[in-house]
């Protein structure tokens, strides 16, 4: 029997407003934790924050060589921008994917990694997961800025669609956050989660048209296309290519689909997190 108690937060039923109010009150904590992530990540490295750019650049170069030069992947030129640079086309899809992957993979370990803190201090636990996502959003923003400049140099017009890009960056962050909420707690209960998700992310990467154009799937496996397009990352890849590479507004259906899926993922993730949050200190 449960008493009228629960000073300790057991409130999966709390409204979004309460959740936001709670977050607002720990704004400084969120900010400081995010700064800790950002500053701590590249401390004691010679190149510092530059690493956050070198990593995606290296991947971009590798994939460009493998898929463009060796396998001869030929995405259609940007329409209407007319851009035809594989590296830019690739980056417009790769950067959002890497951001999502980073948020999920490191968000998953964030509770286990901070177990000594969780066991010794009370503070809103969700701030750990959120600040992780926020720190990667910071890196992602730098990457996207660099990409925007690169696209400008090659004659694209990404500035006009910048509001849409920023909007979808936030939507993607919400989606990644929702996923990492669930995975962070499940990793506390089952440490297998991180290994399993590691494999899943690889499969997911190739199930998303990042290194190859979706036209490949559309041509050869037309009947699978509907299922294929359920993948939210497929849609994200498309909208980011729309705004950054093609130079046009994303379609309404994609926008609606992504907003709905991300909102649902975030809400579900938060509820699951809250549901299992109370016993974290003893399970860790």
């Amino acid at each position: 029997m449960k008493g009228p108690l629960e000073t300790a937060p057991s409130r999966p039923k709390e409204g979004a407003a309460t959740a936001l109010a709670r977050l607002g009150s720990s704004r400084d904590l969120l900010l400081n934790l995010t700064l800790r992530e950002i500053r701590g990540k590249y401390k004691r490295t010679v190149l510092g924050q530059a690493w956050s750019l070198l990593n995606p650049i290296a991947q971009m170069v590798t994939y460009s060589i493998v898929f463009s030069l060796l396998l001869r992947a030929q995405p259609a030129p940007g329409n209407p921008s007319g851009l035809d640079v594989f590296a830019l086309w690739l980056s417009a899809g790769l950067l959002p994917w890497l951001f999502f992957q980073n948020v999920v993979m490191s968000g998953m370990g964030v509770l286990v990694g901070n177990s000594n803190l969780i066991k010794k201090v009370y503070f809103p636990r969700e701030t750990l997961v959120i600040s992780n996502a926020a720190s990667w959003l910071f890196t992602f923003s730098i990457e996207m800025t660099v990409l925007t400049v690169a696209v400008l140099i090659f004659g694209g017009s990404p500035l006009l669609y910048l509001p849409a890009t920023i909007f979808f960056m936030i939507v993607l962050a919400a989606f990644g956050l929702g996923v990492s909420f669930v995975l962070a707690v499940s990793n506390v209960y089952f440490r297998d989660t991180q290994h399993f998700i590691g494999i899943l992310m690889q499969v997911w990467f190739y199930a998303t048209p990042i290194v190859y154009p979706i036209s490949l799937v559309a041509e050869h496996h037309h009947n699978l296309l509907a299922i294929y397009r359920l993948n939210p990352l497929e849609r994200f890849t498309e909208v980011f290519r729309n705004t950054m590479y093609d130079g046009r507004w994303p379609t309404l259906s994609n926008t609606l689909y992504l907003v709905l899926v991300s909102a649902a993922a975030l809400a579900l993730g938060y509820v699951v997190f809250k549901r299992y949050e109370g016993r974290l200190a003893e399970e860790l």
Binding site: T7, L35, R36, V121, F190
Partner: protein, 413 residues
């Protein structure tokens, strides 16, 4: 007054003791559930109130649920039954500096740690100088904390936590933090806290300091509340009972030596020659050392020493200096050191015992912390420190005659 700072109502806390700590999905699927576990109730239906403005102690044996209860008050653990209601902000000194990031500077960590503990940025900025000043590590504040010594680390953590200025402060174990001068600063800060009408909740084993520090004490035993009330009364009953329960030679001391003869038991005997772990200042006691020699040992020397909880070397005496050197020992036996009057002030002490050869260069057996005992106030009752000297005060009559202008010390009776 009369207001309640913390209200603990029927709190029970259950832990799961996993038989095999195997947090893997495979194991879970194969068994069809997560893992076999046994339930263990660390707290059973504990209820009491902590009045506002009081210093409140929680005492009990190891594993009696003291820390679990404190963690429930701090909201780190959620009770399975019952509720904890707190009125006012809470600061917990459970582990110091636990949120520090080793690569960040002390300054950055003060802000980080402060916000983890619930402070706003502006508040931290306002108290920053005070925090750094209190920690006494101004010159290193811009160094990464990984370069700090463990003492500096803890001091900075403590400074942040205590300068939070919470309404209710939770402290686990009396803070053996830093050097003596830092400890003095801590005690001063506690005193300020109490003067300001804040509530302090302390969990501790050090009965002596609890008695002077606390107004009220709650006594937990095997997760259940035994008694709650005025500090002196509860501590007295607790000490009376605990010394019956405390087993000798279980204090987790370490030993070394070649082992031809081993100490198999060390006992503190009271005047009636019954083993005890709680005595009073001035009591007549004896320490008995029982040994087992696997071979014949020529002219062994028995040694005994005392340390207090802070590790201060208080006293030592060995049998060669005591004029007692047996020609040889064999098999099992025991020796005894009689102390007619135990001149120690109230506190907790650890006994060290050794058996060495006659030249004191070869150690057969050395047992650190083989017996821990408490000294309670007795006669003579003196004001402070580690040892009692049995001094008496009086007017220095003959000295006055030599002074140019002799004063007078009068007595009303």
């Amino acid at each position: 007054m009369g207001d309640v700072a913390v209200n603990i109502e029927g709190v029970s806390k259950r832990f799961r003791l996993y038989r095999e700590r195997n947090q893997s999905l495979k194991a879970a699927i194969m068994r069809g559930r997560r893992a076999a576990y046994e339930e263990f109730w660390a707290l059973k239906d504990v209820s009491f109130e902590i009045p506002q403005g009081s210093t409140f102690g929680i005492i009990g044996e190891n594993g009696s649920g003291k820390s679990t209860l404190l963690n429930c008050v701090a909201k780190i653990l959620r009770p399975d039954k019952g509720s904890v209601t707190t009125h006012g902000s809470i600061g917990a000194l459970l582990e110091l500096g636990s949120g520090f990031h080793p690569e960040l500077s002390g300054r950055e960590n003060v802000y980080l740690n402060g916000s983890i503990l619930g402070m706003k940025k502006a508040e931290i900025a306002r108290r920053f100088d005070e925090i750094v000043d209190f920690s006494g590590i101004e010159e290193f504040i811009d160094q990464p904390v990984k370069n700090y010594s463990s003492g500096m680390y803890v001091r900075l953590g403590f400074s942040v936590a205590i300068n939070l200025d919470p309404d209710i402060l939770l402290v686990d174990e009396v803070l053996a933090v830093g050097d003596v001068s830092f400890q003095d600063k801590c005690m001063e800060k506690f005193a300020d806290f109490r003067r300001a009408g804040k509530t302090v909740v302390v969990v501790s084993h050090a009965m002596g300091s609890l008695r002077t520090l606390c107004d009220d004490v709650a006594w937990l035993k095997h997760g259940e509340l035994v008694e709650v009330g005025a500090a002196n009364d509860v501590v007295d009953t607790y000490v009376d009972e605990a010394h019956v329960e405390r087993e000798t030679l279980t204090t987790g001391g370490s030993r070394w030596g070649s082992g031809e003869v081993r100490i198999v038991g060390v006992e503190l005997l009271d005047a009636e020659a019954t083993p005890t772990t709680c005595v009073r200042t001035g009591d007549s006691v004896a320490v008995r050392v029982r040994y087992h020699a696997s071979e014949r040992i020529e002219r062994p020397i028995f040694g005994l020493a005392l340390e207090n909880l802070e590790g201060v070397y208080v006293w030592a005496h060995h049998s060669r200096d005591g004029g007692f050197v047996p020609d040889f020992i064999e098999r099992d036996g025991a020796v005894e050191l009689r102390i007619p009057s135990l001149m120690l002030q109230p506190g907790t002490f650890d006994l060290l015992a050794s058996i060495v050869d006659y030249t004191a260069t070869h150690t057969f057996d050395f047992l650190r912390h083989c017996l821990r005992f408490d000294v309670e106030a007795g006669t003579p009752r003196e004001s402070g420190g580690i040892v009692a000297l049995g001094g008496t005060w009086s007017a220095a009559a003959d000295a006055a005659a030599e002074l140019p202008q002799p004063g007078r010390i009068g007595s009303r009776t």
